[in-house]
Amino acid sequence: MKRIVSILLCLTFLFSFAACGKSAEKELVIYTWAGMFPDEVIDNFEKETGITVIYQNFDTDENMLMTLETTKGSDYDLVIADDYIIEQVISEGLAQKLDKTKISNYENINPTFMGQFYDKDDAYTVPYGAGIMQIAYNPDKVNVDIKGYKDLFDKSLEGRVGVVGNNRVVTGLILKMLGYSMNTENENEIREAGTKLKELAPNINLIKDEYLNEDLLAGTIDVALVYQSQATLTATDEKGSNFKFVMPEEGLGFGVMGMFVPSNAKNSDAAHKFIDYILDGEVGASCFSWMGYCSTNSAADKYIDDSLKSFLTLPENLNTENAEIVQNISADAADVHEEIWNEFVKSCN
């Protein structure tokens, strides 16, 4: 009897999987961080196309890569992730070339964000939001007129500075301040940045990757090196209306997020439709306003609300020559980065 029950159970399982397979044509599985699209954008896409969107989250780029490696690029139809990891995805053959004839809004992409290191010919990706590292501060509590990274070292800021918890970004900006590349693999240069970084330690009160804006607004810290989205969230909060935001003069660190279709996606057609839909100006504007990242869509810029415009579109006089993206470096160089970062963190307490 038990055996019969278990056989029946197994069969039910099998059939339920088979059932899943059948309806896949009308399904689009998106794999990205939480909170990348406002609900109404997804709802409207579903209404317009009759495709059901299944939204699955990862928490870090590295987890995403691991999942793609194990599923051999199937299971998901569209992935949105950071620049440096996309480079790895493409080099491992886990992404497929986009069929641009299916993307009628392709020209809307802002050319500044095209031809980046991770996809030089723009064959695999469409950018979806970009961020520039900035310094946000409360001028009521800070007496320094902050212009760049060097001002973060000011003695008057003891115990009042927060930085994001990403070692490559923070150390990278120090490298820029010293006139080196963020992506240098020269050990001496990285170590020099490490020594400089340690000088910043007395001023550090907080090292955290997420929601630095909350601590800025609560007054636990008064100055912070933040991601673009955190700057936007600070500025749009009631308490943050008088805050100042600085694009550091020594050079900028920025990042681009990209959409790509995994190599064995079951429904790449729906993925192309979705990309096309997101590239529409109005839709794009509501997405960027929701995420708080810089618009990568020229057609979207004019639909962005004026109060957000200075945060979500690139300043016209922006000197992109001095801007750099964190890229993958050799394992040995990464080890040195890890070591100096640990030393920095330890000297903060």
């Binding site: 927060g162 009160n205 090292i207 955290k208 394992a331 640990n342 307490n349």
Partner: protein, 269 residues
């Protein structure tokens, strides 16, 4: 008899399988990985090396282990000082009140620990200036681990033979003497299991040190996390885990040794 053993074996088979799959194999794999070489493309090459352990002799790793150890000692000591009397006190109470205290200790566990810690952050941020300090990390860890100490001591305390205590007092032993000769040896097992339950996790409760310490305090657990997620040096992460396991194993071993010592003291009298 034979068939009985066979059927017993069948009953515990799931347990064996579970232990094999989720405890023995992962630990063996971590041990194996810790002797492998990391390639420059972030993957693992199966070539034997001791470099990972040599790397751990660098001051940054040694001091981190020592810092985690110190934090664990501070947290455990506070837990003993506060939790041991509290557990004994609870055990002495009449049953109704005992149940009440027991429930009061259990209720917070119905709320996810991350949520509780988020509320502590809000409280500290609003009413104090200690958020993102060592002190904040210590008190939150004590808070998170205290119930384990109280429960362990309590369960030993309930079994304590009160008549032995009464006899000792009647025969003229001072209160302190009675405590040292009877209560302490008889509840030592509970106390030591409480120590194990608080000491071992406090070396690795990285989410507490990250959230309450503002990311400024690195514990051994952070080293593992960083090596795995940021630097992708799996063999080194495995080596750190192995050393950490040996350290905690040592603590458990010492606790187990101390228990008979405490008991013998009673018999010698």
């Amino acid at each position: 008899m034979k068939s009985r053993m066979k059927s017993d074996f069948k009953k515990v088979l799931p347990l064996y399988l579970f232990t094999a799959f989720f405890v023995i194999i992962p630990i063996a794999y971590a041990f194996f990985l810790s002797f492998m070489t990391r390639t420059n493309t972030f993957s693992v090459e199966y070539v034997f090396t001791l470099d990972n352990y040599k790397e751990l002799l660098k001051p940054i790793y040694l001091t981190t282990f020592w810092d985690s150890f110190k934090l664990a000692i501070v947290v455990t000591t506070i837990n003993i000082v506060v939790g041991y009397p509290a557990g004994l006190f609870m055990a002495k109470l009449p049953e109704r009140q005992r149940k009440f205290f027991f429930a009061a200790l259990t209720f917070p566990f119905w709320i996810n620990s991350i949520v509780r810690i988020a509320s502590i952050i809000i409280l500290l941020r609003t009413y104090t200036t200690i958020l993102y300090s060592y002190f904040a990390v210590v008190i939150t860890m004590v808070y998170a681990l205290m119930p384990f100490m109280i429960y362990s001591v309590y369960s030993a305390g309930v079994k304590l033979d009160r008549s032995a205590l009464e006899a000792a007092r009647m025969l003229g032993a001072s209160e302190i003497r009675a405590f040292l000769d009877i209560t302490l040896p008889l509840t030592a097992k509970g106390l030591l299991s409480g120590v194990t339950l608080t000491f071992v996790p406090s070396m690795c409760l990285i989410y507490i040190s990250n959230l309450l310490g503002g990311g400024k305090f690195i514990l051994a657990g952070n080293l593992i996390e960083n090596q795995l997620i940021k630097t992708h040096n799996t063999p080194l992460a495995a080596a750190i885990s192995v050393v950490l396991m040996m350290l905690t194993g040592l603590v458990i071993l010492i606790c187990n040794r101390l228990e008979p010592v405490a008991r013998r003291r009673r018999r010698a009298k």
